[in-house]
């Protein structure tokens, strides 16, 4: 019990002293997950809009695939990206393995289906009358699609934030493709795993507290967005 209390005490000292190593790890975590989320959102939101508004042969298959991939095990993604990026793999020539870029790729694969599935649900949830209203007022098909995306904005934001929560908390994939190299590819979750293994609880606990705080903030933002989207009758 004393060691746990001592661990918490040292963890708070690290946080309040703004320890350089700690800040570096937090910054890299946010950079990797933020980049993965940006890529996922930039490609995923337009794709979900197309899935929600157009009819084409592979549409059902893509939706099912995205729904299935929402539950992808991170270690499987890590393994897949590792094989692709390893020296003998098809993308080995790019030399990305054990770099933050490899971690962004792995996390993008994890975030993308969540963004697409949840944004698609939000877009198809928009009342079809909105599309008709937009068309009757002279909107082009592109303007109508933008209007529908705007109407689904709260659901879309919820989807993006849910994906961010998933990749921030993920450890398996980035551990495999990033290699957990100190000062280069070491992020919050991989540090927690490593330091716990080593018995150095203070840094692990400090990062755990910060990760929980970030999760709490994400959920608070999500709650705020959803509440804002609900209009009192």
């Amino acid at each position: 019990m004393d060691s746990i209390i001592e661990g918490f005490r040292k963890a708070f000292i690290l946080i309040f002293n703004l320890d350089a190593e700690l800040l570096g790890i937090i910054f890299l975590s946010l950079k990797v997950s933020g980049s993965a989320l940006l890529v996922s959102a930039v490609i995923g939101i337009p794709l979900s809009a197309i899935l929600g508004s157009k009819k084409f042969p592979a549409k059902g298959f893509i939706i099912s695939l995205m729904n299935t991939f929402m539950g992808l095990p991170p270690v499987v993604v890590g393994l897949f990206v590792y094989i692709m990026l390893s020296r003998s793999g098809p993308l080995g020539f790019m030399g990305l393995l054990y770099t933050p870029s490899a971690m962004v790729i792995a996390q993008t694969i994890l975030a993308f289906p969540i963004v697409v599935s949840l944004c698609h649900s939000a877009i198809v949830g928009v009342d079809p009358i909105i599309k008709q209203a937009s068309m009757t007022l002279g909107a082009t098909p592109f303007q109508t699609t933008i209007t529908i995306i705007k109407e689904a904005r709260y659901g879309i934001m919820s989807g993006v934030i849910a994906a961010f929560g998933r990749v921030m908390a993920e450890v398996g994939a980035i551990l495999i493709v990033g290699g957990n190299i100190a000062g280069y590819t070491r992020v919050m979750t991989t540090t927690i795993a490593l330091e716990t293994d080593k018995g150095n609880f203070e840094l692990a606990l400090a990062l755990g507290i910060i990760l929980l705080t970030i999760s709490l903030l994400i959920n608070a933002v999500l709650h705020f967005i959803q509440k804002k989207g609900m209009v009192k009758e």
């Binding site: 209203a133 068309m135 009757t136 002279g138 303007q143 109407e151 989207g229 209009v231 009758e233």
Partner: protein, 217 residues
Amino acid sequence: MGLILSISDIYKSYNGKPVLKDCSFSFDRDSVYVLTGPNGSGKSTLLRICALLEPPDRGEINYLSGSDIVKKDTELKRRMTLVLPKVGVFNTTVFKNAAYGLKIRGIKGKEMEERVNKALDFVGLMHKKNQNALTLSSGETQRLGIARAMAIEPEILFLDEPTASVDRENTGIIENIILNMKRQDKSTIVITTHDMSQAERLGDIMLIMSECRIIQG
């Protein structure tokens, strides 16, 4: 120069069941036409086809400007509008809803503000301009739909059952709005209603539909 709408031998079916048969008519400028008839007689379908929201299976729709046939493109679609019986309002303020048609036409700034304010004032919603449109009553929502259409100053305004889902008080308000529009004489207005007395109150020309056909014009 205002648009003249001419339809000839329009036929439309859904799942093999005809909803419009051989409908022909010419809608001249600056009059109020009322399409009336029982539910299911094809009024709303005819209005949607006239507003170019869906094509007929057979027949022709022509918009004429003078003696020239106007090409059916986005520009033509922007010279008319249809207010649906269930007005789809966007999750934003009443003002932004009313400004939508102008915004997508690239009309901004002072001109947009003036036209939107004028339209909202016309339908009696000026005091609610900053309120979220989803909080309006059904009657107010219908009035917002009319304001949104008026703001774009269409040459032809289609109103599909504008009072079908509103109470008696709002029916009176909406009828007065339509009568005021009629006095302004700026647009051709085509209204559908199943209420014969309303048709008589509002229309210059009454068209009766029955069994998928215009039987009296």
